[in-house]
Structure formats: C-alpha cells, structure tokens
Subunit: 338 residues, 2 copies
C-alpha cells in the first residue's frame, strides 16, 4: 500500500514536470516559488508554538526591532540538547547575553560573553553518539521514539553528494545518511518489525540558517547555552561533529548582516561591538509570537518544488543543472495562512 | 614523466596525511590554515595588478573606508565579458553608481540604479556558448588560447557532487566539467596533439565570493556593467546560465554584511538605502593597491590543504567527512609576502 502511494506521487510529479525541457515551451514551467505558492492548504504542516525559540535582539541603529525566530528540531534528532535549550529559555538565561561572534562565510554565534554566568541546574550532559541516529525499519527509519519516513526525494544526478549518500528530506527537515549500513543483529533479523530492514545512520545537515550548539574540544558536546547559525556556504564538515538543534525561519537577516568580528574566528573584541540579546523565549511564552507552517516534505508540491530547484526551467534559465545539493533545496516555511 | 611527478606528489601528500586518523594522535595533524601558513614561498603565485578590480564604496556610518578587491579570471574563461569590464573601469563608468540589491543567502549586486547611463562604445556582445569551454588535450585542457592543467584533486568520497563530475582546481580556480564528453572529430582523432584526448566541457563554479555578470532573459548575456557576488550557499544552478568573471579576494565583508533589500529579489527601494560606489579601477591604475598572491592549485601544499579540508583531523573534529564539495575548498589568497 505504501509503495503504491509512492508511485502515484512520482507519476503526478513527472506528468506536471517532464524532464525533457527542450520539447516544450519554457514559459509552461512554474518557478520554485510559484509551485510553493500554489501548494494546497492541506500540504502545509503547522509548527507548534512550543517548538519555536523567539530571540529579541536590541533595536538596530535606527531603533528598529530585531526578532529572530528559530524552529527546534523534532525527535529523534538532538533531543538532549533541545531539552537543555527549553530549560535555558524557561530560566530566561539568555536575557542580557549577546551575539559574540560573526565570522564571514561561516557562523554568527551568541551566548554569555563573560563565560562565567551560572547555568540552570539539571542540564543534561549529552554524549557524542547523539550527533546521529541509527536503526531503520523497512521503508521507515526506526528511532528510540518511533519511526520516521525515509526520504522520498534524492537530489543530484548521481543520487550522492560529496559528503554522503543519499541526502533527502524527512518530516520537514533535510537529512543525510551513511553509505555503509551496519549489519543487522540476530534479534533484529528475527523480528517481524525488522524483516525488511535496511539499516543506516541518519543525521541532520549543516545548511544555511541551521542552528547548532557551540562546544569545547571532544568529548565535550556543549550544553546548548552557546548557539550559532550558519551564515555562508554549508560547512558540512561540521556534520556529526556538532549538534544541530534547529533552523532560523524568520529574521535571518538580523544575524547574517551583522558586522563581521575582527578578532580571531570572527569574535567581537569589545562590548560595544556585541549585539545585546533582550530575551529568548519559547514561542508559547510570547504573546505576540506569529504562527508558522512548513510545506510537507512528503507532499506532491514539495516533490515538484525539489524537482524544479534541481532542474530550473523557468524562463531565466537556459541549462537546467540536472541536480541540486541538499542545502540548495531549503524546506519552504511561512507565516501560517499566508 | 608527467605521470611520475603526479604519483610523487600523491605519495608525499599521503605520507604527511594518512587517511586512517584513528591510528595516530590527533594533534599531529595540522589544520588547513596551518598547512597554508607553512607553504613554501615558491608555492605562491603572484596575481598581476592588471587582473585586480579595486572598488571603493562610500565610507560606512562610522566614516570607515570600504574597499573591495576582485581578482578577474584568466583565459580561457569569460574573456569577452572581462574585456568589457576592463573598458568600463578605464572609462570610470562605475563611479557614481551604487550597490542596488542585497538578497539574503544569494547575491549582492551593483551597477547603475537608473539603468539609463550610457555604456562606453565598443563593448562586445558575448554569446551564451562562452559560459563554458570545451576541448581537452591529453592530461591538459586545450583552449582557444592554449592548454590548462586538468584538475589534480577531485573532491568527494565518490569523486562527484550533486551537480557534475568531477569538480577540481586549475591554475588557481575552482572548475567543474560535464559528465558526458563529446565525440572526437576525425581531424582531432588524426592529430598528434589530440592522440590522448579525452574531451570534456569545463566551466567555473558559483561559489561564495565569486563575481558574475547580471543579465536579462536569454539570449542576453549581460555586458559586465551589472555585477554581483555570491553571499550565501553556492547557487550552482546558475553555473552555465550566467557568466562568472572573478572572485572577491579582499573586503568581502563590505558586500556580505550590508542590510538586506526589502524589495522584490532583495533590491533596495530608495536612494537612501543604496551604497554609493566612489570608484572602480583596475589594480594597475590604483597607486595604493595592495599586491596579492594565491596558493598554486598544482602545489604539494594545496593538495595537503584540500585533503585536510575534506578530512578534518585537527583536534576539534571527531569524524572527518571523507569529502568536501568544491565550494568548501576555497583557494587561499593573501597579501603578497605575508
């Protein structure tokens, strides 16, 4: 039954977006934003307010408010650190901290500039093994908390990129998995759940706008008090070396357009340069927090959008690339009902 | 003879950077910047002053100078547009124009906001075929102006990325080539020069900091008067759809940290928002222009640097990626003699 649905989705996508662009008039092809604009209401998935992290920076030089909204990742990814982040927000720990580092083509980072502020009690110490998640059940990825759908779309003409094979989308997030599956254990082989198992290791990807947890040298994995977001080309060498916990879904420009720091690694060298953080709260604790939704990565429209990103056929383009790397197919997110 | 040299280089690189990191102490591995810092003086290649484009923006809010230095690409790439750019600089055409567009995670673009300023006479109309360059001779890429060395380093665990196969480095630039070589003609097959020919199409790559030529709809290819630079994740779908003419080698932060435009496509909506351009000159016409050099992409140190970028083993990292996409291995450029 599951297979039948998958095939039906593929056929629908292909009918609407034939691969041989030269046979048809270019103007017939909608652009990726046009495809997203035409997606059906039921293809959008609401994001819970409790999964938002709302960060208000001090106003800019012209007195304009600067609000950044981050969506936290769902299980099975990085839940240890995300639990800490929820506690830090509840304790208002970030209020009065600052943006401390902006390194061009790399990251903007925020936290306590003094590095002396006491942390709330009860934060988890998360092991490095949590940078990735393994175990697969049939077409589904089995996690400690259940199963997630395996990626339906695989980018690239050869189904791989320079980092792993394959990359894909799952439950609204970009993920990748290892090329080498581990062997099934005897218990797994004999289990009905695992009969069709193809084991793999999956992990989230360091794309533009993703939010991660700063840390010291291994085995330290960071608490979540020091966070950063990617403001340049995807630093994929950080995948599986640092925890990713979410992505910026609104206000990215307030972090990406800040003056670059002049100290080593782009750290600001004086208090005057640092951008004060007024408050960080979970979305359900902010009265005027907007609501958001993302385009389901399992929807027909998302498949068409991803295909169009990988094969640009709107009028500006003369040679479709025939592929796209995972970070060039960002999941569409918008204010709800827009 | 050439093959022997290649093997010797490989052996040297492998001896210094064994692939099995777990067998050795991590601290033995220098980081990419450390490898670059230790490169020999003769591994650096001087950049001619006449290949620099020096753009002075109006001072910032604090009265600080903002200079951006661009290195123009060498033959065989994009020489039609680059010839136009040399004429535009000689005519002081950009003086009094402005940065007109800053789109987050995409491009910063500059040119004439009125779109009415007359262009100098004699600019070339360059055909779309110039977006790429074909013909290969043996291990060398044959061009209309001679041969360039084929990439020695191929990034990625599977030697491909999502866009093409393979990517690599040549004469200080990042390039890629098509997966499908065209057939040799009879003349080429019978030519001594072409005996070992493996034909391919090569083109430059839209990485962070690369500079390209804005254009209208095809078959328009732009004159070079409207330029942009990439300020986010590599928009590789623009490869072979727009001409690339160079890269920002100093002052990138003056373009990447500008406020994002609020109009469609990130265009600024008022004169007040636009950043005035005071002057754009070729480097040999600027008395105080600094001199630059790049790390030869054919050097032993570059091979070690590229390998280290793809397999981070310096102490911070716990899992080397085993690959890197081409845009994550930028060619090191520095002020000369530093």
């Amino acid at each position: 039954m599951k297979n039948k649905i998958s095939i039906a989705l593929c056929a629908a996508a292909l009918a609407a977006f034939p691969l041989r662009a030269e046979e048809t008039v270019k103007e017939e092809y909608p652009s990726p934003p046009e495809i997203v604009a035409k997606a059906k209401a039921e293809e959008w998935v609401a994001i819970a307010q409790s999964d938002l992290l709302v960060m208000d920076l001090a106003t800019d030089a012209k007195g304009k408010a600067r609000r950044v909204v981050i969506q936290l990742m769902p299980a099975p990814f990085s839940q240890g650190w995300i639990g800490n982040i929820r506690k830090l927000a509840a304790a208002h720990w970030w209020d009065g901290t600052a943006v401390v580092r902006v390194q061009d083509n790399y990251v903007t980072q925020w936290g306590d500039p003094t590095e002396k502020k006491a942390l709330p009690e009860g934060l988890a110490v998360v092991p490095e093994s949590e940078y990735e998640t393994s175990q697969v059940c049939g077409e589904m990825v089995l996690t400690q908390r259940g199963c997630i759908i395996e990626p339906a779309f695989r980018s690239g003409p050869s189904k791989v990129d320079a980092y792993s094979e394959p990359t894909g989308f799952s439950n609204g997030w970009l993920i990748t998995k290892s090329r080498q599956a581990r062997k099934l254990t005897k218990v797994e082989r004999n289990s009905a759940t695992w009969r069709q198992a193809r084991l793999a290791t999956v992990w989230p990807v360091h794309c533009y706008g993703m939010v991660g947890v700063g840390r010291n040298l291994s085995p330290n994995t960071g608490t979540g008090a020091e966070l950063y977001t990617v403001i340049g080309h995807a630093p994929r060498h950080l995948d599986r070396n640092i925890a990713l916990v979410g992505r910026v879904i609104e206000g990215m420009e307030h972090l990406s357009s800040l003056p670059r720091g002049t100290g080593a690694l782009g750290f600001y060298e004086s208090d005057e340069e640092r951008v004060p953080i007024l408050s960080v709260r979970l979305g359900n604790e902010v009265a005027d927090a907007p609501t958001f939704e993302y385009l389901s990565t399992e929807s027909v429209s998302f498949a068409a959008y991803a295909d169009a990103r990988a094969n640009r056929r709107d009028p500006f383009f003369i040679k479709p690339a025939g592929g796209a790397d995972i970070c060039n197919i960002p999941v569409p997110v918008r204010r709800k009902g827009k």
